[in-house]
């Protein structure tokens, strides 16, 4: 299940009961009825730990082991990650966890001329250039950035192949690539509005890729300099292409 929270909204999580209702049910006997609460504040979120005995971990799955420990009874600990996995301890070896995305983080424009930014005109769809979704986006845009021509947008297997072994966090599966593309389309660029998307339609998916690439290039979200983020091209074909530029 997925909950969508706007600024100021909160969701409780835990085992739940009629006297302690929760929005997110975590079915494990070791978890309290009301285990905690997340609340959206500004562009990030806060975690309240209702447990009197257990710390919760908040991991950044893209952060190479980066995590926060939120101690028992802590109220409103601010979480700085765009992607988080909240991990609750259980009696067994298997932990219970859920993910929280905070897609509204803002990044300053690279070409903004320094100085105070509060009143300046900024890009309203800013992307984290260190995130995996950005790497996937650059890989999607790569053929057009290199050739400046309307060649086809790479397929998911091509992306997996192109980025293979390049990620700090391990291998990138085809499924992960697809969910990064969905995240870009739905949460970052909000292509065509949140309501019109119908998942699971093959041809629609391809249309979505084309659209993402078109927008990212047209509005300068991905630029020539970002090609440096990708692993070097291998094979004679690739080299020739680069030399031909």
């Amino acid at each position: 299940m997925t909950l969508r929270l706007g600024p100021g909204e909160a969701a409780r999580f835990g085992r739940g009961s009629t006297t302690a209702p929760v929005e997110l049910r975590l079915d494990d006997p070791a978890i309290s009825r009301l285990a905690g609460e997340i609340r959206v504040v500004d562009d990030h979120w806060q975690l309240t730990n209702h447990s009197t005995t257990h710390s919760y971990l908040v991991e950044n799955p893209e952060g190479a082991g980066e995590y926060l420990r939120v101690p028992p009874r802590r109220v409103g600990a601010p979480i700085p990650f765009e992607f988080s996995r909240v991990v609750l301890p259980t009696r067994g070896d298997v932990t219970v966890s859920f993910q929280v995305f905070a897609p509204d983080h803002l990044y300053l424009d690279p070409d903004a001329m320094g100085g105070p930014w509060g009143n300046s005109t900024v890009t309203a769809y800013s992307l984290n250039e260190t995130a995996t979704y950005f790497l996937v986006l650059v890989a999607l845009c790569e053929p057009r950035l290199r050739d400046q021509s309307r060649v086809a947008v790479p397929t998911t297997p091509r992306i997996v192949e192109r980025l293979g072994g390049h990620l700090a966090g391990g291998v990138l599966t085809a499924r992960a690539v697809s969910s990064h593309i969905d995240y870009l389309a739905e949460e970052k660029l909000r292509i065509g509005g949140p309501d019109t998307h119908e998942p699971g339609q093959g041809d629609r998916r391809n249309g979505k890729r084309e659209e993402i690439v078109g927008l990212a290039l047209r509005f300068g979200l991905v630029r020539e300099e970002h090609l440096a983020l990708l692993p070097p091209l291998t094979g004679a074909g690739g080299r020739e292409r680069q030399a031909a530029r």
Partner: protein, 460 residues
């Protein structure tokens, strides 16, 4: 736009090179920096040599050298919007664009190919005025000026899309001029499209979740009205936003909470009641709720408030009243000044009455005094009855302009109190004759609308 201290003080190698005073740019000579925006630097300049025309201009220099083609295209696109709007929508409330050219600068490679817009130069921005406190300023007049500019833009089919105090410039006489049309877009149908750029503090709630489409983000004129609401609040609340938060992102979150109906609008008590009501309408949470409050309709309300007797004290009543200067949509005859001036002296009404006298119409708005084009926004109204409230129902269809000479035969000294834009007040009214046209044949001119005080008998 902000002062370019950082750029001026240090050559920190971020690719921006500031032109020193004395630099020649096309036919112009830079006299100093004014400010720096996202991709541009604005300089004060004067004509090189004895070029005729304007002595003080602003040069907006947008460098394109060293940029990737896609980035350069964004800048060209932004300049294109400014030039297109400057060509089609000249108005006293918009900064005028004098010319634009592409710079060839062999000795400064970083400026080779830069796009230069030569613009009318202002004395400062509303941001500077708001930051300085703006105590002594007629803030209502400032807001009315912004509204006039917006009404003109919207009437011409454009959306500004980046309205903020930085982009509201002020002339030496504090006249308002909207500027920076780099994001302005011409409406196609009900929408225009802008690149995914903007200033967070002035985004309406719907903009925060707006999808990015092939042409950019869709914007409607109501987005400008929202920004106007934020500006009015800032003007009266000494720069404070109506939305709480320490950063633009925090305030943006508050805007979304308000837009989703989870938080009320909490305006600063420093905003006077009339302006609170107006701001609340500009800040209606949805496009649909904001749509009835067009710049034009806001302008009518502001004008009515400013003309209404005891403006400020009787806010509720002032809202219902409609001021003369704003009623330019009205159907009916307008008085031709030639016809009036050339008209024969009217015969005395009654045997033995004093010889005919005249009064010349005076407009307290300085802008309107210098022009002879009988612009609707510079027109003034005449009352049907000087002892009834001066509201829309009590105004004759005929309009008059500064400089018109009207025949008058008598006066009342104890009519409704009228306060003009310069805060002069009077209860005196002149009965003036109208040229042939729809009934009635006479109407009443408030004495604050004339300089003369001719010796006139009291009207019966």
């Amino acid at each position: 736009m902000r002062p370019p201290h950082a750029l001026w003080d240090s050559a920190d190698g971020d690719g921006t090179e500031l032109l020193p005073p004395g630099s020649r740019v096309g036919d112009w000579v830079v006299t100093g920096p004014i400010g720096a925006g996202g991709w541009s630097t604005v300089y004060a300049a004067r004509p090189a040599g004895s070029r005729p025309g304007r002595a003080r201009v602003a040069l907006k220099v947008m460098p394109t050298a060293g940029l990737a083609p896609l980035q350069a295209r964004r800048i060209v696109e932004s300049a294109r919007r400014e030039v297109e709007l400057g060509r089609g929508a000249g108005h006293p409330r918009l900064i005028g664009l004098l010319e634009s050219f592409v710079l060839t600068s062999p000795d400064r490679p970083s400026l080779e190919g830069a796009i230069v817009l030569v613009m009318e130069r202002a004395a400062g921005s509303l941001r500077e005025l708001v930051d300085a406190g703006a105590h002594e300023v007629d803030r209502g007049r400032l807001v009315a000026g912004i509204c006039e500019g917006l009404a003109h833009l919207h009437r011409s089919g454009w959306v500004h899309a980046d309205l903020k105090p930085e982009n509201v410039l002020l002339g030496e006489d504090r006249s308002v001029k909207l500027s920076d049309f780099g994001l302005a877009t011409e409406l196609t149908g009900t929408h225009g499209h802008v690149p995914p750029l903007g200033t967070l503090d002035y985004f309406p709630p719907e903009r925060w979740r707006a999808p990015l489409g092939e042409l950019g983000v869709r914007v409607r004129p109501t987005a400008d009205i929202w920004a106007l609401g934020i500006i009015i609040h800032e003007v009266f609340a000494y720069g404070g936003s109506p939305f709480p938060g320490a950063t633009p992102m925090a305030r943006g979150a508050a805007v979304q909470e308000y837009g989703q109906g989870r938080a009320p609008l909490r305006m600063d008590q420093a905003v006077p009641p009339f302006w609170r009501a107006l701001t609340a309408d500009c800040l209606a949470p949805t496009h649909e709720a904001r749509a009835p409050h067009t710049a034009e309709s806001l302008l009518v309300r502001i004008a009515a408030h400013r003309e209404a007797p005891g403006a400020g004290r009787r806010g509720a009543r002032a809202r219902a009243a409609v001021l003369a200067t704003a009623l330019y949509g009205i159907a009916g005859a307008t008085l031709s000044s030639d016809a009036v001036r050339a008209g024969p002296p009217a015969p005395p009404d009654r045997a033995g009455a004093a010889p005919p006298r005249t009064v010349q119409v005076y407009n307290a708005e300085r802008d309107c005094r210098g022009r002879a084009d009988r612009a609707p926004r510079c027109s003034l109204g005449l009352a049907i009855d000087p002892v009834r409230p001066y509201t829309a129902e009590n105004v004759v269809p005929t309009r008059v302009w500064h400089g018109d000479v009207l025949g008058t035969d008598c006066q009342v000294r104890d009519g409704e109190t009228i306060i003009d834009e310069e805060d002069r007040r009077s209860t005196r009214w002149f009965r003036v004759r109208l040229p042939s046209g729809p009934e009635p044949r006479t109407a009443w001119l408030p004495a604050v609308r004339a300089k003369e005080r001719p010796a006139l008998p009291e009207c019966p």
